[in-house]
Symmetry: C2
Subunit: 435 residues, 2 copies
């Protein structure tokens, strides 16, 4: 017996989860859980997979940041509900802190929406702009959360390619070809997870140009905006356009090394009043879970004003010197092609998988690297980009050094010079091949 709606009538306990909940996939977890991992007991595990910069112990929140929260707690003033978009003073502080995103014009605190982490900021932006059946353009390789947030609501994600040999700039032609009348937004992640790339101004202007031609708003995931290595410069996309509306997502998570605090925000850059209705929707969304933790909101003005530049410089220094070290070491490994990052806290490493005939793909490579060497990277598949692995740069220097040494050993062991050609043709001696 079934009804017109197609659902069987209930004659027993058959509680189904919603499609939304089932389609809210965490791709990283799914892939990681599919690995058959048994780390080598002889070698202590080095998890270069973990995007939490605080767990290795070498990187810690600044004393000033911590003190600001203590003051907030001690004041006893921040236990009550805040405005769903955040306390006025906290939003004011974020507006001031983010002044570089809009030179020559002040950001109004009303244009700031505090959220429960940058994740929640991204969720609100995507869900406020895109309806079921619409699509959002997202980068490949890219952070898997965009997909997680969109797919459960039947919002299609369309991947535009980042080009590893062009410093991970977007393939503009391919990107533009994805746009149709159902495209709701272009999502830019700059600096990028997992690439560690930082778009230059010229490239950003090209992206803006596309959005202008197609009347597309930009969702800018700029959570790593201040994680930029010496010699590079992060330019906020919102600073380059008054035509294209930009929703910039940021937060304390990475720069202040406090991911657990869940303090993120959206800054609405809408100079030509093109998002007015959408911003109403965006603010409605805040009414769903009533905002972010108020103790952190209470601390925000002090955190943003008092955490010293020297602290930030110290963190960048760790990331940059780890990147330089890992790049130098891995560059020399046959079969690996690290791409030197300019920011964020990751490095992508190309794996010439045909040179490692023992492994069928990046995921298999990662699995065996754990099993033999107890070094855990994330396979590029986690970012829709097979053929690469991603390492984090937030670990202590000795760890990155040791990890790279083990990866070298691992690759040396499994590397076969043009093995397929050798096997297929039976013509060449392995030693004859040069690179």
């Amino acid at each position: 017996l079934s009804t017109s709606s197609g659902k069987p009538q209930r004659f027993g306990w058959q509680i189904k989860p919603s499609k939304l909940s089932l389609n809210t996939h965490n791709r990283i977890r799914n892939i990681v859980e599919s690995l058959k991992i048994k780390p080598n007991p002889e070698k202590p595990m080095i998890p270069l997979s973990i995007g939490d910069p605080t767990i290795f112990g070498n990187l810690k929140a600044a004393d000033e940041t911590m003190k600001a929260v203590l003051h907030s707690v001690e004041s006893g003033k921040y236990n009550g509900y805040a405005h769903t978009q955040g306390h006025e003073a906290a939003r004011q502080a974020v507006a001031k802190y983010s002044a570089h995103q809009r030179p020559n014009e002040e950001i109004d605190p009303m244009e700031v929406v505090l959220c429960s982490g940058c994740s929640s900021a991204l969720e609100y932006c995507i869900l406020a702009l895109a309806d079921r059946g619409q699509n959002v353009l997202i980068p490949r390789p890219g952070f898997c959360l965009y997909h997680t947030l969109a797919e459960g609501l039947d919002i299609e994600v369309r991947y535009y390619d980042l080009l590893p040999d062009q410093q991970w700039r977007a393939d503009l032609v391919q990107l533009e070809s994805l746009i149709d009348e159902n495209t709701a937004a272009l999502l830019i992640n700059n600096p990028s997870n997992p690439c560690g790339s930082v778009f230059d101004e010229k490239h950003l202007r090209q992206l803006i140009g596309i959005c202008e031609r197609h009347y597309l708003p930009i969702i800018a995931d700029e959570i790593y905006e201040h994680f930029v290595f010496p010699g590079s410069k992060h330019v906020a996309v919102s600073s380059l356009t008054t035509e294209v509306p930009v929703l910039s997502c940021g937060g304390l998570t990475k720069r202040f090394l406090v991911p657990g605090w869940r303090m993120g925000w959206i800054i609405v850059h809408d100079r030509k009043q093109r998002l007015v209705d959408a911003v109403v929707g965006l603010k409605n969304m805040c009414g769903r879970i009533l905002g972010s933790n108020t103790l952190i909101q209470g601390a925000l003005p002090e955190i943003l004003a008092k955490t010293p530049q020297s602290y930030f410089d110290g963190v960048i220094d760790v990331l940059h010197s780890n990147a330089t070290l890992a790049y130098k070491m891995l560059k020399q490994v046959r079969g690996l092609n690290p791409v030197m990052p300019n920011g964020a806290m990751y490095m992508m490493i190309g794996v010439d998988i045909e040179r490692f005939p023992a492994f069928k793909d990046d995921t298999h490579f990662v699995q065996e690297l754990v099993n033999e060497q107890s070094v855990f990277c994330l396979p590029g598949s986690c970012f829709e980009y097979p053929g690469y692995v991603r390492i984090v740069l937030t670990v202590p220097k000795t760890m990155i050094e040791e990890a790279c040494a083990r990866m070298t050993e691992f690759c040396d062991r499994h590397f076969k010079k043009d093995s397929r050609a050798f096997i297929e043709h039976g013509l060449l001696d392995e030693e004859d091949l040069a690179f």
Copy 2:
């Protein structure tokens, strides 16, 4: 020109908000904003509308609760990401704290999901159980968030009536008549906002019986579970059934007087393994915004263990004596019918609107009460229940006293004995009527 999808192709800036975001309404705010309010400048405002118990200054979080957070911050151990469902130790603490919800069997920490406030707990429960086109049964009068959370996702809400003259028990016959093959869950809010009612065991068993007959899981909003006045007893619905799966939503918000901290939780009671798939969905949902603030998670074990009973008793005492006082005063006001609450922190007051011909409905009554007396109640319409107003009981005693005195003055001034009959029939002298 338009495409097959019915959407016009984009030839200009026409960024529309999503349906989800537009349909995420906050009914209280919508109604309150529609009021034309100009408080009487002669009288200081008494906002009996505000559901934040901390803003009046008389009710404060316990020292023990605050200290627990200071310890958590000072430890420096809780800055990183937690498991998306929460730190193990925090979930363990909630499981122990909630033991009364499942006598004779331990709650496993794996059955606890920490969320960003009880709101987020409710969001996940509703969204994990119900698909677009399905329906959830919710109480009327009831907390408007249920509607806010469901309607944007095209999940229908169906209201079952609570009966004011039966201590706000549900109308079981009407409730059962709402159930069809698309009903995904019964939501119970006990103790109730706005009614302040507490269901007795017998009534809970009746509700369970309906769910058993129709194979319906229960979402139990038990955020006020410990806000029960002397003489009443809260019984957790999960403690009465092993047949019907129950998702109990709770949190620190009300009992610990820290709504801004956004610490809520879901406890999954699924003794017969009927929610296994739905719980996978529920846990997936946590991957969307990556959990709740970790400083509070770190403090949870200490908060739940150390906040003393005397503190809770003190808060109940304030609520109960305010309820008793307001009831006693308002009971004597012609045209008002307060319903004495047994728990939570609200009281509903019936308004015989036909006796106040100056006002067309509860909303109008509320508006003029502010304008004349600077006393702000919420109209019952905010809870889908016109003809009533809701006051909060969390204010200082002198405030509730003054508010009730002003309400008395207001009602006395506008009360017309059987005015409609008088006007309509022209037969009776006002003074002739007795009650």
